[in-house]
């Protein structure tokens, strides 16, 4: 069971400001049924430009409902400029903290607020549009959003990024790219050394290299693909060329070509050698996949 604070429980069992304001000044909608949570925020301003009323409707777990409730409380009485300063941290802190895996709920609150303000500023016309390019296709998270949660919450691992904005929580295909964003933003800061890194020796024999490649595929790459019904097989290693075949879901996935290759190369560079490059085995590509949908 989740360790929720009394504040979280209180706002879940007795949420404040539930509903929808008629003729609102701003409407923000984020999330979806498929993602497991969604939030619709509406607000109305008073004559001085302060938020007079804010209401929410939320589909999601206890912490999603509690963060929505708190969000409406936090922004009431604020001007638009003041409201925009509310961060996901503020929401989480107000609740006395959230379990790490639930931090994305607080981020959803902040996103809904921004969407609502954007909608207000465009005179009620603008629908929230994603900024940047999509990194996580499973949950539709962009690089801009990922960079933002990293900066605002000082995140250093892919797992944390997943906890905060869901990116990387599906097939795992974008882990390499998230890692790159973290490295870019956190460069220069001391980092926790990733554990269980196989020792990288300066000179590998061919056999050692192949074993290490196989081990990296087994431990670092396959579990992520497996989580989404995909698979990978090491076909051969010729010098620095690593030949792999994608199976099952991955074989049918049109994204495979450019995302998978990059992710796998990144992992192989990290754990084996930076000289390696990946090629997909075309000969086995047409083999029938092993299960139906």
């Amino acid at each position: 069971m989740w360790e929720y604070t009394d504040k979280v429980k209180d706002h879940f069992f007795n949420p404040h400001n539930v509903g929808e304001i008629e003729e609102p000044d701003g409407v923000g909608e984020v999330g979806s049924l498929a993602c497991g949570d969604a939030l619709k925020l509406t607000f109305k301003l008073d004559e001085n430009g302060r938020i007079k009323e804010a209401k929410f409707k939320t589909f999601g777990c206890a912490s999603a409902i509690a963060t929505s409730s708190v969000l409406t409380e936090l922004i009431k009485g604020k001007t638009i400029e003041e409201a925009l300063k509310v961060t996901n941290r503020d929401i989480a802190d107000y609740l006395g903290g959230l379990p790490e895996q639930k931090m994305h709920c607080s981020v959803m609150g902040r996103e809904a607020l921004e969407a609502a303000i954007e909608n207000y500023r465009s005179g009620g016309k603008a629908k929230h549009e994603l900024e940047g390019t999509i990194v996580c296709t499973c949950f539709g998270v962009t690089d801009v959003e990922i960079e933002r949660v990293i900066r605002e919450n000082d995140l250093t691992t892919v797992e944390q990024v997943t906890n905060y904005c869901k990116a990387g929580g599906g097939c795992g295909g974008c882990h390499g790219e998230i890692e790159k964003i973290i490295q870019k933003l956190q460069a220069g800061k001391p980092r926790h050394a990733p554990h269980k890194v196989p020792a990288k020796t300066s000179k590998l024999t061919n056999i050692q290299k192949i074993q290490l490649i196989q081990q990296t595929i087994n431990e670092q790459i396959r579990p992520a693909l497996r989580a989404h019904g995909g698979n990978i097989e090491l076909i051969d290693v010729e010098g620095n060329k690593v030949i792999v075949a994608f199976r099952d879901m991955c074989a049918q996935c049109r994204m495979a070509e450019f995302t998978m290759k990059e992710v796998i190369e990144a992992k192989l560079h990290e754990f084996v050698s930076v000289e390696l490059f990946v090629e997909e085995d075309k000969d086995t590509q047409d083999q029938p996949h092993t299960h139906r949908e």
């Binding site: 498929a34 497991g36 589909f59 777990c61």
Partner: protein, 391 residues
């Protein structure tokens, strides 16, 4: 507040009779059955008796029973031992809805050069037997398919599958953790080679399990360092646990028919009432071939964890296949394999009953369920009449 326990597929209450049987084995009869003195040696008879009680429930020989520490250990041992016995065959067949104790072990073997085939299920959670027949070949070393699914309670046609596997000369293992004690078994009449069961799912304590290995099935010892369990599973026996499991098996055997009928009746009452009183709810899993105690219901447009917490306020214990309860971001692998739409999978709730549940408990739950669902739907930005569209 009274606890209403509808989570018996997770674990069960230890039966009072079982506890009574175990009690003397802690402070009075605490000897080691391997000792030479009478004080320890007499304990061996208790273990032998428990072995017989288990064998009677399963319809097999006592020598075919190996006591382990849990269902997961039994699954691990069965799978690893089976593939080790026939190293020249490299294919393992299992299903996409297996418990992780089987699925994770198979996927680990994939890293050691084995080919793993995971058979799919249909929308009702029924196994795709055509796909299975197609995959079963001479290279298959092991087939491991659960007897009944823990999330939906759907029972697979294990006897038929075991026959097919036997004809191909492969080993057949079944994880029967959810089935034993809930439906009658007679292993002497089946072609099942190995079967796992877990004590705490049938009113014995946690920390004891069984691996059944049929006579003639090759099994390398899987724990070394002692002669216990005929040298196949070394380690000083969990005597109280084993004795408790024996008693629990005896009770299950004596009462399986009389007890499961009322359990099924209560389950049906709960299920029908909820489906009737909560709009946009649907049953997950095949109604025909199902454990008598399990029902899995999806409530559209609401999320499982939120439902569980509201149920918890009334003391009602259940579980959910939603993403939020598992700590991952996606619904359970069983719901996904069945193709349950995400909209419904996120709001799936499992009630699993036992002989200790009462009609009052069922009525109490029926009374409060619509209120809980309505309350969350009022919070939800999605509405039913627009087919899940936003307001």
């Amino acid at each position: 507040m009274k606890t209403i326990y509808f989570d018996n597929n997770a674990t069960t209450k230890v039966a009072e009779e079982v506890l009574e049987e175990m009690q003397p084995l802690f402070c009075e009869l605490y000897g080691n059955p391997s000792s030479m003195h009478t004080f320890g040696g007499q304990i061996g008879r208790r273990i032998a008796h428990a072995r017989e009680q288990v064998a009677v429930l399963l319809g097999c020989e006592p020598t075919e029973i190996i006591f382990t520490s849990c269902g997961t250990e039994s699954d691990n041992a069965a799978i690893r031992a089976a593939v080790a016995a026939t190293p020249e065959k490299r294919k393992i067949i299992t299903t996409r809805v297996e418990h992780p104790a089987v699925l994770t072990v198979c996927r680990d073997l994939e890293n050691h050069g084995y080919e793993i085939m995971e058979i799919g299920v249909d929308r009702q959670g029924r196994l795709d037997l055509d796909e299975f027949k197609h995959e079963l070949d001479d290279n298959t070393v092991l087939v491991s398919i659960m007897y009944a699914n823990n999330e939906t309670g759907v029972i697979f046609p294990i006897d038929r599958i075991a026959e097919m596997v036997s004809e191909k000369g492969a080993v057949f293992h079944t994880d029967a953790v959810q089935a034993v004690g809930k439906i009658p078994l007679n292993l002497s009449k089946t072609a099942i080679d190995m079967l796992s069961l877990s004590g705490h799912k049938l009113h014995a304590p946690k920390g004891v399990g069984v691996l059944y290995v049929s006579k003639g099935t090759r099994l390398a010892p899987f724990m070394l360092g002692g002669h216990q369990e005929a040298g196949r599973r070394a380690g000083t026996e969990n005597v109280p646990g084993i004795v408790g499991l024996g008693k629990a098996c005896e009770m299950a055997r004596n009462n399986i028919e009389q007890e499961n009928q009322p359990v099924a009746k209560l389950r049906d009452k709960l299920e029908e009432a909820i489906l009737r009183s909560c709009p946009d709810s649907r049953l997950n899993g095949d109604k025909e071939n199902r454990l008598p105690n399990t029902t899995n219901i999806s409530f559209e447009y609401v999320e499982g964890e939120a439902i569980l917490l509201l149920l918890d306020r009334y003391g009602i214990c259940a579980s959910s296949g939603s993403a939020c309860t598992s700590g991952s971001l996606e619904p359970s692998h069983v719901m996904r394999a069945m193709g349950v739409p995400f909209t419904a999978a996120h709001g799936s709730i499992r009630f699993s009953l036992s002989r200790y549940n009462t009609e009052e408990e069922v009525d109490f739950t029926i009374e409060h369920m619509p209120g809980i669902i309505n309350r969350l739907r009022e919070l939800s930005p999605f509405v039913a009449e627009q087919g899940g569209k936003r307001l």
